[in-house]
Structures are given as structure tokens and as C-alpha cells.
Symmetry: C2
């Protein structure tokens, strides 16, 4: 069979990785796919950035529309990122009857519903394995490998930058700002790290995971987002004392009242496998009713890990070229007409455990004040640590772990605790998940 | 579309789980697959064992051939296990043009080559996700999710019984025999546990993993097999002292001289994620050249986890019913005409690190005797621990960790060490892998 012709949009980090892997492993890939896959066209803003040798096999241009409109191109691979011009290019490719592979999590999380509707109408596929957790084939696992299950919940370390920072804070007792600077120097964090450390990037990926887990439309705007910027070194060390590691998790869970959709720092029991996923690595833990807990671990970013996912998608699309569209794996795991409209649970209604750090003026009675407030609101305490005051300080950190309670009740409790005369400043709150 | 009709062979543990999950999650599954999947026929030796309610929907018989020969049945699901009559039933189903789903690792590992050749000829699919690591979608991950990669190696905890025993030995300092009895009582181990504890079951699964990783024919007879029966409590605790956990691993690796294919107890650095996979859980670590290390974790056995994999396969087959056979994912990941004939590396040529336990007659000079032997054979020592002799004993256990060396050289060294006057009895040897 003739090789399949790919039109590549973007020759940055992931684009370059895709060219490298497709070239290096061309034979291995053809042995699996049953036919060759070649980049026949590539578009990059500055086409001198085209990789060495690529101009020997591909027509390189700075006009991305020239690629998506070229009748020769069978599959468009969008690796530009962002919304503009990525969205319009993808929609144009679909309108032209071309299949699309993309690594663009922001695009899928915010415009996926319209993109998939258009693709469905045109009978083409839009594949996006690389959009979540880089090289880990989590989309495939969740959408196909666990297709027999009712998914109960999924929880993932899906932002490598945040995980690197939290790992360094724990292993070396370093401060957040200090590690962030190093992460930026090492290229793990962007010059503007907001998307990573404020949970936006994780929320994009969680949005996609939740849709394919539960068959609900993509609803990025409904995700509760809390990043790691407020995590202090002492929280990491108190958590460790209590037997927990702090990780930035994206969590989605189906409850009787709606679907949870939240990104926030989370205490996880240190003996859980996912609590030991360190550095820039990613992992997603998925609980299905039949299979039980399963975990998927690997590199969540980087040129070649992401290229691994992009090319796996290309191979899948190549195999589906002759398939009746109705028999393909649906974009969001469930058939479009079988999507569910279960509501997203407001954060106020979510139930979790809590880690609280309270700064008490060191006088008798403060513990009883705090525990009375919690008790009156029906909040059970699982552990308390009262630390020694700092040498020059009169404030004593009191650390509490609570059992599960609704966020609303906890907000109320925190308001009351902060109002106590015996308590100074804000209560630091981090959510706790056992992931059992 | 009309529901797909399944003919189920075997109503034991996995058969029962498959009926339960298909029934309980019928709606969820149809929402994903786009059509219903129903068990229209079921065969079991004693059909009174048929599950409650199954006789309402399926024709239950004790004649398995009646099922595989029934023109109504579209997909045959073989959950009988073993070779006879499973092999003939599968071959008959294929000859009848039916697709097959099986959880039978022994059958695939030993007869897969002929089964897949027949299926290829008939244009039907034989799916076997449940044959390796139960509910973990590792076949799909390796065959499709990592299809862009040259696989460098894979290493798996793929026998839950052995892992349960080793975990108990480590966590509770118990003896092998003691834990084995408990495992049998709890149903984690068979009355005749040979297949599990001697590495045969793991070798079946490793055979399959190696084929789809490297595109080589199934070669179960070439697997080096060593079980866990010789592991003693003190080895587990000495390993821990050195920073290692002992796991029964199936390892396959592509080297310049051939493909390693081996099952044996292995010391793994305790900070590796896979070293912390405990109890009956399974995990497979796969290293691809583009993606780097990835890990897949979950339940490796049990009624519903295995059913999860069986049903995922059924859904895949349902989707492929209308696909041109040439565009389906090949049985062993690579197109049949693109299989490789790289030889399996004889165990003598394999290179690993070693843990050695030597019982020295407590006299000066023994350490120098041993290290001289190792040094003369070019074997570097990474660590030595000399223990205190037991109260009533004059023998001192000496524990050595070596760097990588070929098995042949190590065998030679062990022969020489055992011949020393200053050494008593056999040298206990366990291989070491860093899995980096």
C-alpha cells in the first residue's frame, strides 16, 4: 500500500520530536501499521526552523492553510498549540474531510465539543492522546481498555511542572519560589508559569479525562482550580509527619448528586503508589467497578514522549481510514447520541478530608475552642499535632486532619476558627484523599 | 443495530464474572460500543452451574461444540482454560469464521502461532487482553499505545500469587511455606501451586509480552524459568537492608545479541515504583525509545478484573466486525509478514547484577578468597555485608552485590566460591535489575 501522507502544523518541541521519531522508527512503525507514514507537508512560522533533512521529504511552508487545504494531505497533525489559529485550522481540515491528530489540550478542553460535532458530521476522526499525560496511553486505556466498566473516579498527577516543584520541596526541604526558579531555568516551567502552577493545565486535561470517563460533554469552565502557589515547606513536612505526600491532583468522581471536577493540592497516604510518582513524571489512577483500581505512569511531557502519543494516534487513524465511521471508537468514548447530561457537582457540595494548619496564640483552651467548632459542625478529627512554637514566636502551629466533610461545612468551620481570639491569621487548608 | 451474539465457553470464575459485568453494565457498554452485546449461548460442563438468570437470555448447554458450530454465534469467548478441549474449540470457531476472545494464557503462549495463522487465513480476530495481567490493558498499551516506539525492554510483576507471598514475607517476616499455605486457604494459590510459584504462569504471560514488544513468534519453550520457592526470609530482609525489594519478574529485553526472555526472583531498588507493587496486584514496566519508561498497574486476576479485559476485547472485536482484516491491529502487534526472527539469548549470555549469599566459616581470609575469585573473573562488587553468626552457629552469612556480569561468568564464580574450604554449602544467588 502507498504511504499515508501527513501534513504537520508546527515544528516546535513536539513537532520536532514527531519528525525525529517518525524518521528514526519508520521501519518499526511500518511493520506495525502495515504501511508507511510520511510527512509530505509541514508548516511552521519560520520555515528555516524546519528540521535538517525534513525539506528532503516534505514540502515546508509558512502557510498552514496551504497544508490543510492541500488535497494530497490525508491526516493533519496540529502541533501549534493555543487557540488561534489552531482552532480554525482544525475546523478547516475537518471541513476538507481530513482526519486530525492534535496534542492541544487547551483546544480540546475548551472547543472539543464543537470540534467533535463537526468531525462526526464529516465522518472524520480527531485523535488527541497526546493532549493528556503526554506519552502515557491513558485516553486509549480509559476509552477502550476499560470500556466494560462503570468508571467510579479518576485521579491524576497530570502536570509535571507542579509535581517537580512539590517533589523538590519534599525531598530537599526547599521553598516554593526557590524551586520554581530552578524549574524555569531547567525548562520544566515556562517564563510565565501560571498555567502550570495555578492548575489551569491540569484542569484542561482533567476536563478531557472526565468526559471520556463518564460520557459527559467537555466542561472546562466548571472545573474547580486551585494551584500549588500557597503550599509552604512546612505543610509538606507536616504532611510527611502524618504519613502523607502532597500532590497536585486532578480528580473527577461520579457521585449520586453529580460529577466532581476539581484540581487542587491533595494529601495522599504515602503508601499509595501514586503518592510516590515523583519529579516531572505523570500518573493517572482510574477506578472501574469491574477492574478495580488501575494506574498508568510515564512521562507527561517532552518532545519524544509526546511524539509517541501523536504517532500512536496517527497509526490508529491510518487503521481507521477504511472503517465505517459508525464503528470507530467515539471521540469521547460514548456514542454522541448516548452522552449524559449529569450535572457537575458544585465545589461547595464536594466531600473530602481536610488538613488544617491553624496558628494558635499559645494559651490553654485553644484546642478545645477549635475542636468544639469542628464537633458542632459534625466534623470528625482523625489526628492532631501541636508543634513547638518557633523560638521568637508566640504562635503555635496546630495541625489537624479531619474525616470526610462537605466543603461548605468546612468553609463554615474555617470562618469560625479564624474568628477565634486564640487563633492568629488565616487557616491553611489542604484537601485529603485516600484514593481507596 | 442488532445486538451482537456471544457464545460463551466456560462458566467458572472468569465466565461468571463476564456474565455479571456484561449484565450489570449492559447499558454503559452499549453506550460505548454503539450496540448491545448479549450472551446468546453458553456452554459449561455442568450446566446447572449456569448463573442465575443466564438461562433467561442464553441457550445453556454442556456441548461446547454446539456453541462454536452454531451459525447464530458471532463471537466465541473461550474461558475454559488449559489446552484440551480449548485449542480444538478455538480452532473450530476460527474455521467456522467466528471471532474469538480468550483469557487463556497457556493456550496463546504455546499454540498462539498456529492459532493466529489460522485466524489470519480466515480473516477473523483472536483477542487475548485478559491473558496477560488480568484487568490491566497492557496488550492494548503495548500493541497500540506504544506503537511509535522501538521497545527496549519490558519487566512485569505478572503473577499475583508469587507477589502476595513475597509481600507477606517482607512485610511480616514470614516464611515461604507458611505464607503459601495462607495463600492457598485464601484462594490466591491453587491446591497445586507449581504453575504460580515456579514461574510457569509468569513465563506464559512473558512469552506473549515479548512477542508483541518485538514482533517475534511466541516461544514459550525458550523462556528461562526460576520460581520463588528457594527465596528465604533472610534474603528478603538482607535485600531490604541493601535498599532492594525482591519481586518475581518476567523480563524481556532486546540486546545486540538476541532477546532476553526470563522469569526469576529479582532485587529491584526499593525507590522504583514497581518495587512497591504489593500483594496480589500486577504491574508491567515498559521502556520505549521515544516514550521512556511507562508503567501499567492493576489487578492481575479475579473474576471481574479479568472480565473487564474480556469484555473490552469483545467491544474491540464488535467494532472491527466491518473492518477490512488488513486494517485491524495485528495479533502480535506487527504485520504477520513483518515478523522478526531475532534469536532468544541463551541464559548463559544474559547480563545482570547479582545478590550472593555465601556462608563463610568464620575465619580470617574468607572475604579475600571470595573477592579474589570475583575479581579474577572481572566481576565488580558493589556492596558487601558481613553478618554476625547465629548464636549456635559458626557460619557467617556474607552478602555481596555485584555489578552487571554475564550469567556464565557468575556460574563459574559460584562454582569456585562453593569449592572454597572457607565456604560452607551452596551460594544463594538472586539476580538484580535497576530497571533504569
Amino acid at each position: 500500500m502507498k504511504p499515508v501522507k501527513i501534513g504537520l502544523l508546527g515544528l516546535g518541541t513536539v513537532g520536532g520530536g514527531t519528525v525525529s521519531v517518525l524518521t528514526r522508527n519508520a521501519e518499526e512503525i511500518a511493520r506495525r501499521a502495515g504501511r508507511g507514514i510520511i510527512i509530505s507537508h509541514a508548516a511552521a512560522k519560520d520555515y528555516n526552523r524546519g528540521l535538517k533533512g525534513l525539506d528532503q521529504i516534505a514540502r515546508i511552508t509558512d502557510d498552514a492553510y496551504g497544508v490543510v487545504n492541500d488535497p494530497e494531505v490525508e491526516i493533519v497533525v496540529e502541533l501549534i498549540g493555543g487557540y488561534k489559529p489552531a482552532l480554525d485550522l482544525v475546523m478547516t481540515a475537518i471541513a476538507n474531510g481530513k482526519h486530525v491528530v492534535t496534542a492541544n489540550k487547551a483546544l480540546i478542553a475548551t472547543h472539543g465539543n464543537e470540534i467533535f460535532a463537526a468531525a462526526q458530521k464529516q465522518g472524520v476522526t480527531v485523535a488527541f492522546e497526546a493532549a493528556v499525560a503526554g506519552g502515557i496511553p491513558i485516553i486509549k486505556a480509559l476509552r477502550e481498555g476499560l470500556a466494560a466498566n462503570q468508571i467510579e473516579w479518576a485521579a491524576g498527577i497530570i502536570n509535571g511542572t507542579s509535581n517537580f516543584i512539590l517533589t523538590e520541596m519534599k525531598d530537599k526541604g526547599r521553598d516554593f519560589d526557590d524551586v520554581l526558579k530552578e524549574a524555569q531555568a531547567r525548562g520544566y516551567a515556562e517564563a510565565d508559569p501560571t498555567f502550570d502552577i495555578e492548575g489551569v493545565d491540569a484542569a484542561h486535561k482533567l476536563t478531557i479525562l472526565a468526559s471520556i470517563a463518564f460520557g459527559i460533554p467537555l466542561q472546562f469552565d466548571k472545573v474547580y482550580k486551585e494551584g500549588i502557589t500557597a503550599i509552604e515547606r512546612q505543610d509538606v513536612s507536616y504532611a510527611a509527619e502524618l504519613g502523607y505526600n502532597i500532590k497536585l491532583l486532578g480528580i473527577t468522581r461520579k457521585t449520586a448528586n453529580g460529577i466532581e471536577l476539581r484540581v487542587h493540592p491533595t494529601l495522599i497516604p504515602e503508601h499509595r503508589l501514586i503518592a510516590n510518582v515523583d519529579g516531572v513524571m505523570n500518573a493517572v489512577l482510574v477506578k472501574g467497578d469491574a477492574v478495580g483500581p488501575t494506574l498508568y505512569y510515564g512521562a507527561g511531557a517532552g518532545a519524544e514522549p509526546t511524539a509517541s502519543a501523536v504517532i500512536a494516534d496517527i497509526i490508529d487513524v491510518v487503521r481507521a481510514l477504511t472503517t465505517d465511521p459508525g464503528n470507530r471508537v467515539p471521540h469521547l468514548a460514548f456514542q454522541p447520541k448516548s452522552m449524559s447530561n449529569i450535572a457537575i457537582l458544585p465545589m461547595d457540595e464536594v466531600q473530602t478530608g481536610y488538613y488544617l494548619r491553624v496558628h494558635a496564640v499559645d494559651k490553654p483552651g485553644v484546642l478545645s475552642d477549635v475542636t468544639t467548632i469542628l464537633g458542632d459542625l459534625g466534623i470528625s478529627i482523625e489526628a492532631i499535632i501541636q508543634k513547638q512554637p518557633d523560638e521568637d514566636a508566640t504562635l503555635v502551629p496546630v495541625i489537624l486532619l479531619t474525616q470526610k466533610v462537605t466543603e461548605k461545612n468546612m468553609n463554615e468551620a474555617i470562618r469560625k476558627i479564624e474568628a477565634l481570639d486564640s487563633v492568629s491569621g488565616k487557616v491553611r487548608r489542604i484537601r485529603v484523599e485516600t484514593l481507596a
